[in-house]
């Protein structure tokens, strides 16, 4: 009895101290960005690793999700004789919800897990401590470039995802199913508001970018330096990121579109 309460207390203390560590860690990662020639070089390299290499999966999934939306939307709307509205349905779904959310979920799986494993292995093989021994701040050279690259890549990827998805929806509904393309675009343009829909979707992507990269980098930096610890941390990155994305998406949607 006493032991189980003690265990609960220990879990609570560990949770709160991890929360505190991750908060301090986030602050140091944000402040660690440097604009020297070398700092920019490190950032560009991580941009390539985290952003550019995620491009293929984002484009392919965006294309297919847009095509499925076009197909499903058409088959429902054609019953009401309003298949022209498929454009606005595809665009609003992608720009408001699926663009940022699916991009962030894919990004957590594709780039977040890789970040955790990479930093985790650096920690397990004591590369981080040797850097510190040599007077090189690992925060500045390892963590900050990865954090900033992930944080800035996600909104770019989300914008590409939405654009490609809308293109895919257009391919299916206009070119294949024969929706009149003038009505497709004009319905879309009258339904989508730039500041209400596109900007809010981008704000979501920025928030998800921060959270996913933060979780990934912190899990890598804070793990137990064994092979089991690395695998646990990688799993945790994907699970926590996905839960955080979906939970935050509900909150952000409630604030942005629910009239809170």
């Amino acid at each position: 009895m006493v032991e189980s309460i003690q265990k609960l207390g220990r879990t609570g203390i560990e949770f709160i101290s991890a929360l505190g560590r991750s908060g301090v860690f986030l602050l140091r990662a944000i402040m660690g960005l440097s604009f020297t020639r070398k700092g920019v070089g490190l950032l560009v390299k991580q941009f390539y690793q985290v952003g550019v290499l995620s491009l293929i999966i984002i484009i392919v999934s965006g294309m297919f999700i847009g095509m499925v939306l076009g197909l499903q939307g058409y088959s429902i709307l054609v019953d009401y004789g309003s298949e022209q509205a498929v454009g606005q349905m595809v665009a609003l779904t992608l720009v408001r919800e699926l663009g940022p959310v699916v991009t962030a979920l894919l990004f957590a799986g594709r780039a977040g897990s890789a970040l955790t494993a990479e930093i985790g292995l650096m920690k397990a093989t004591e590369q981080l401590s040797s850097l510190e021994m040599m007077g090189v701040d690992p925060m500045r050279h390892i963590i900050a470039p990865r954090f900033w690259a992930g944080f800035m890549s996600l909104p770019i990827l989300a914008a590409i995802f939405s654009a490609v998805g809308i293109f895919g929806g257009m391919l299916v509904s206009v070119d294949w199913l024969g929706v009149y393309d003038g009505a497709f675009w004009s319905n879309m343009q009258s339904a989508v508001e730039f500041d209400a829909d596109v900007v809010n979707g981008m704000i979501k992507a920025v928030v998800f970018g921060l959270v996913v990269t933060w979780i990934a980098v912190f899990q890598g930096y804070d793990l137990i330096p064994t092979s089991e610890g690395i695998s646990n941390a990688t799993t945790k990155t994907v699970v926590y990121s996905s839960l955080a994305i979906l939970g935050l998406d509900f909150l952000l949607t409630a604030v942005m579109f629910g009239g809170l």
Partner: protein, 152 residues
């Protein structure tokens, strides 16, 4: 340190992101670069809006000449007060213009249609259109037919 091609690819990645955002802004949300057209405000009171909402179209002879910027209830007259922003280039709305709420198609969006009269004076910023026709209420119409009093 790192080679030029990586820089190039990252640059292309950023350009692709910006292009996607431009596509979302211009093609998808129809944001035109000169959307901040000069406009002036005109008011009109209606008995029944029938679903007209903010951002609705204001048109004359089927051509969009502005948009509904605000919808509120005028407590004194218990009527709906609609604020419209009319493009400044359309400065020939006479003071005896008629504003009516119409529907595009059978079940489409509600919009305000303005038809001009023969008066010599033109509406200025802040003026009110007095001659208005409310939205055609389909349910009232059907109800009137059903009860045999078709004189609405």
């Amino acid at each position: 340190m790192y080679n030029k091609s990586v820089e190039l690819v990252v640059g292309l990645f950023m350009v692709a992101g910006m292009a996607a955002l431009m596509f979302l802004a211009l093609q998808v949300s129809g944001l035109s670069l000169d959307s901040q057209k000069d406009s002036y405000r005109v008011y009109a009171q209606f008995d029944d809006l029938g679903g007209l909402s903010v951002r609705g179209r204001v048109s004359m002879a089927g051509v969009a000449i502005g948009r509904v910027s605000d919808v509120s209830l005028d407590k004194e007259s218990a009527m709906a007060l609609v604020e419209m922003e009319i493009y400044a280039e359309v400065d020939n709305l006479t003071t005896d213009s008629v504003a009516s709420i119409q529907t595009s198609g059978l079940l489409g969006d509600k919009f305000v249609a303005i038809s001009v009269g023969a008066d010599e004076e033109y509406l200025q910023d802040g003026d009110t259109i007095f001659d208005t026709q409310s939205a055609l209420n389909l349910e009232k119409l059907i109800g009137a037919f059903a009860s045999g009093q078709a004189d609405i």
